[in-house]
Symmetry: C2
Subunit: 351 residues, 2 copies
């Protein structure tokens, strides 16, 4: 019926129809009344009516360019968002982000176009930073690119990270208190009488790993634990080898603490294969979320508050966006929930 692909209406169209100026329309639309500039309710209503009748919506691009706000929160992930393998990781964060965005009246802009042909992602891929379309951005991902982050900040772009990142200078981020949670797991094991605790740390360093290491060391020295020959870096993809596990057992380990749940699961499998009863002869704990939908005994571990982290990140961001003055970027650490589980028990071996 409509062959003329009717242009989107703009403020000037409204202005003409309403018999006012474009400026007035802009002011009304944005509720920008102030002391020096007033629009009487009647005019305002009239403008609104015309706007509705035309189906007017602000053009976010123009508004950005002119320096305005779009009530858009960007979500940028350093890896592709939905593919299955990433999904379990991102999902809780996204839930929290969506909830907060919705509650605060923002829409979510998911930046998907930044992916290069090789599958890698960079904010500045091809030199283009599309993020600016959003008022601010929540950044997440395991493989955070630090250079990108610093550059973003130096450009004055507002953002909040999910996950702590060590970069020079202040940035807003939300993390989980891995150190305390780790210490709590160790405390639990020590409380069960364990003194020789094997520690399967992450092979590749990252901030979350470092936090766990710090928590472990703190608990260790607090309890006066000796960990000689009990620390083993493990790659998440490989897990520990049977040989390594045997060596740790030979070194007197009565409990195992692994960064990754999947590593703990593999460990459980190996121990079962060796005829080592868990938690009878040996305890196992993980320093992350319990695995999803895996049969077997409930793992001793802690729950990372993913949903809350997403929510808080948005709140941090919005606070930056909505305050007039410059807000010092804030860092937040949320507590994890300890899960006692069924893979840890009292130490039966006398020391």
């Amino acid at each position: 019926m409509k062959d003329a692909p009717r242009r989107r209406p703009r403020q000037s169209d409204i202005a003409k129809l309403a018999g006012v100026s474009q400026t007035t329309v802009s002011i009304v639309i944005n509720g920008r009344e102030s002391d020096t500039i007033r629009i009487p309710p009647e005019t305002r209503r009239h403008v609104f009516e015309v706007a509705r009748s035309l189906g007017y919506v602000v053009d976010p691009v123009a508004r950005s360019l002119a320096g305005g706000m779009n009530r858009l929160i960007g979500v940028y992930t350093f890896e592709s968002m939905f593919p299955m393998d990433h999904h379990d990781f991102y999902y809780p964060f996204l839930v929290g982000i969506e909830a907060a965005a919705e509650a605060l009246g923002y829409d979510m802009l998911m930046f998907t176009s930044a992916t290069g042909s090789d599958g890698s992602r960079s904010i500045y891929r091809d030199g283009v930073n599309r993020l600016g379309l959003a008022d601010g951005c929540v950044l997440l991902g395991k493989e955070t690119n630090r250079d990108d982050i610093v550059r973003l900040r130096d450009e004055g772009f507002r953002f909040a990270l999910v996950g702590r990142r060590d970069v020079p200078g202040p940035i807003a981020y939300v993390t989980a208190d891995y150190a305390s949670a780790t210490a709590q797991v160790v405390d639990h094991l020590v409380g069960l009488g364990h003194e020789r605790i094997a520690y399967l740390t992450a092979a590749d360093p990252s901030e979350p790993s470092a936090d766990r290491d710090a928590g472990f060391r703190a608990a260790q020295s607090r309890h006066g634990l000796d960990t000689d020959g009990l620390v083993l870096p493990v790659r998440k993809e490989d897990g520990p080898s049977a040989e390594e596990v045997r060596r740790l057992l030979a070194a007197g380990a009565t409990a195992f603490v692994a960064h990754e749940s999947v590593v703990a699961l593999r460990l459980l499998g190996l121990l079962e294969g060796m005829g080592v009863d868990v938690p009878g002869a040996c305890s196992v704990a993980a320093l992350s979320d319990p695995p999803h939908d895996v049969p077997g005994p409930e793992l001793t571990c802690f729950r990372i508050p993913g949903r809350e982290m997403g929510t808080r990140a948005v709140e941090l961001l919005v606070r930056q966006l909505e305050s007039e003055e410059e807000v010092e970027p804030e860092a937040v650490a949320l507590s994890c929930t300890f899960v006692a589980g069924q893979t840890s028990g009292p130490n039966r071996k006398e020391s």
Copy 2:
């Protein structure tokens, strides 16, 4: 170190440094040489050098404003997107949408703010159609609001639906070929010797249900099946009652076909409770995706190509967006994949 949030360099900065005009910079950056407009290689190289030295990157916002499109694809769901119960439903579509958007260089704008305080959703909440922020929109949801859709179309807004909707006039949508898939399931059962097939259809009518009904009726008449007393409308939330199942069995049913997987699962439970062996004494099939992560025998059913549907919807939309002339909205139906499963077997009962 930098308290003056160093402005990003712009083309005019390059121009000044390189001793050329902003126009020239734009032309060089965009490779816009033509017959009427030429920049000698030397100048071009010089401009590039200065640009690099300044760390120049195009501002996509400004470029969009000058160009027209903002390379944004909206995603609107008639229900909230991430809460767990909706998630399984939406997830495959989102995967496909993200992949397509990524491949075509668009960003995804997820409309989350459209939810009213009462939790209900409407595109035209408050009379403003935020969807206009995007160049076009993919619409999904079970509870599609037909009025909204018609209005959208009449406003000249470009969109594509995931899922068929009966509305007056042409719209672009992608659906699955439920009718054929349903017929295939029936064929499978008939091939196993079943003649009395109970049909648990959906209690609330919807297009996907109607498609299945049509497919069932087609297969039924093709095979000359008699379904007297074998058709039962079932609400997804309730499932069939034990009484109803008994009645169907008494009516001679040797096989059950249910729209919903969950209904089929409940049915399996009831039959087991009655001591009816599946698939020994009786076959069960569903007309939708196999349930996720549910232990037990694999259900005879079909797989809905959710991912592909999402992808195709984006492609349909982008075709509309990128073509110069008006494109007639197109409808696409994708095939489902039959899953033989383990809940159907030969009919042992002589008829």
